[in-house]
Symmetry: C2
DNA sequence: ATGTGTCGTGACCGATTGGTCATTCTTCTC
DNA sequence: GAGAAGAATGACCAATCGGTCACGACACAT
């Protein structure tokens, strides 16, 4: 087992401790409970910053815990593995995004008027804007890591990206059925939007010089409408 | 010095050997020379496959040399570091791409007719198609790794992506000056195209179900023209 | 054929890894 | 306040890392 791929293969020995969320010790508002939440947040915060600075693969458990001001051994009281940490990290943003895409898909299925159809699209855009404001780090982590091979701690990120692509394709297919969009091959139409949107998000989050970030959604909408609209 | 970041910091001891290309042993067509080229190619081939399977960060020198059927120590007779290997790996594709972008930029500067202007664009598209056919592995490696933080062996890839973005913005600015494109903020217009094109390339190279790959360039062109054209 | 220098090998080095565990410290329950 | 239980620590483990090096094998010039 190479050191580089240790996270890919299953651990040789079984874990002693697990499921930190399932059984909670002490009173719900007590010191224990409060500390636990604070420490877990500190670990996640430290991990996110290091992941963004160095890339997920280049960050060790020791690095994370040092930045969080704790000893290495404590990590495993909060997370079973690094993969579980990443899952936890992106869970909030993931749920928001998936729910928005699912809602759009459902709305689009029943929308009969043009207005209702465009409203379904707009809601996704609103959620993306919300994500950008409330989870910028998580979104940037997603954009940085989502294309690399799914191995080790990156697995949940790559899987999310596959879900997003699938929804984009499904939604595009429905939009074409409604004749909102040009009859371009559906995956091409869908992935064009995904690719363009993700690249622009990355530019905003990495503070590339992109002009006024607030103009970006409008410009993108114009491009998509003129380029894809039937 | 953490193990994870060992490639970032300068080596403690100085290298004994270097510049494998500068001084070549023996006759140019001799056994030595032939072997050297074959082995170097074998190393690069093994490295590329492993990089694509696991991601650059998850591949060790030992992994590469084992796959190439050689002993670890031999690696450093061919490449100073893993970073040099990656530079060498993408050099061919990089040169093609940069030269095409530079040529487009120059052509666009002097193009007076619409036809000449579109021809300048088309040449870049042709080179991308060539890259796709002749260097599919290298292109895929670029797409997989270009967004992660620039550290260690990934540095040359990330730098190439910055060059590409800069050229895209510069070319877009010229096109807007020619009034070929809508007066959308230049970086937005440029990165939209880059993002869309890269995502579609990735889909083709990863064999996502995208329909007939030959239709992709045409569809993308249609989208860009309708979406961006003035 | 002989000497010269390169090539390839695999043991070796110090550092670091994910993960474990006995021990100590802190909070909880009573 | 005392005993029980969870939480935190840091030494520890085997494996692996990038990189080096002495040495035997091989290609070259003569």
């Amino acid at each position: 087992m190479t050191n580089r791929s240790r996270h890919i293969k299953p651990p040789l020995r079984k874990k002693r401790e697990a499921e930190p969320e399932v059984r909670r010790p002490g009173p719900i508002g007590g010191v224990r409970d409060t500390n636990r939440k604070e420490k877990a947040a500190a670990i996640k915060d430290a991990a996110l910053h290091l992941f963004l600075e160095r890339g997920i693969d280049a960050v060790s458990v020791d690095d994370i815990m040092k930045r969080a001001g704790m000893a290495k051994g404590g990590f495993y009281r909060y997370f079973e593995t690094q993969t579980a940490l990443v899952e936890d990290l992106i869970e909030g943003a993931r749920r928001l995004m998936v729910e928005a895409l699912e809602a759009c898909s459902v709305d689009l299925r029943t929308a009969s008027t043009r207005d209702a159809q465009f409203a379904a699209y707009r809601k996704v855009g609103d959620v993306v804007a919300t994500l950008l404001m409330e989870h910028p780090g998580e979104v940037r982590l997603y954009l940085q890591e989502c294309r690399a091979p799914a191995a080790g701690p990156r697995v949940p990120i790559v899987e999310l990206s596959k879900v997003v692509s699938r929804y984009a394709i499904s939604i595009t297919a429905q939009a074409q059925a409604h004749r909102i969009l040009k009859p371009i091959p559906v995956p091409v139409s869908a992935l064009t939007v995904v690719g363009a949107a993700e690249r622009l998000l990355l530019a905003v989050l990495q503070e590339e010089d992109i002009g006024n970030p607030l103009e970006v959604p409008e410009a993108l909408t114009t491009l998509i409408l003129d380029g894809l609209k039937a």
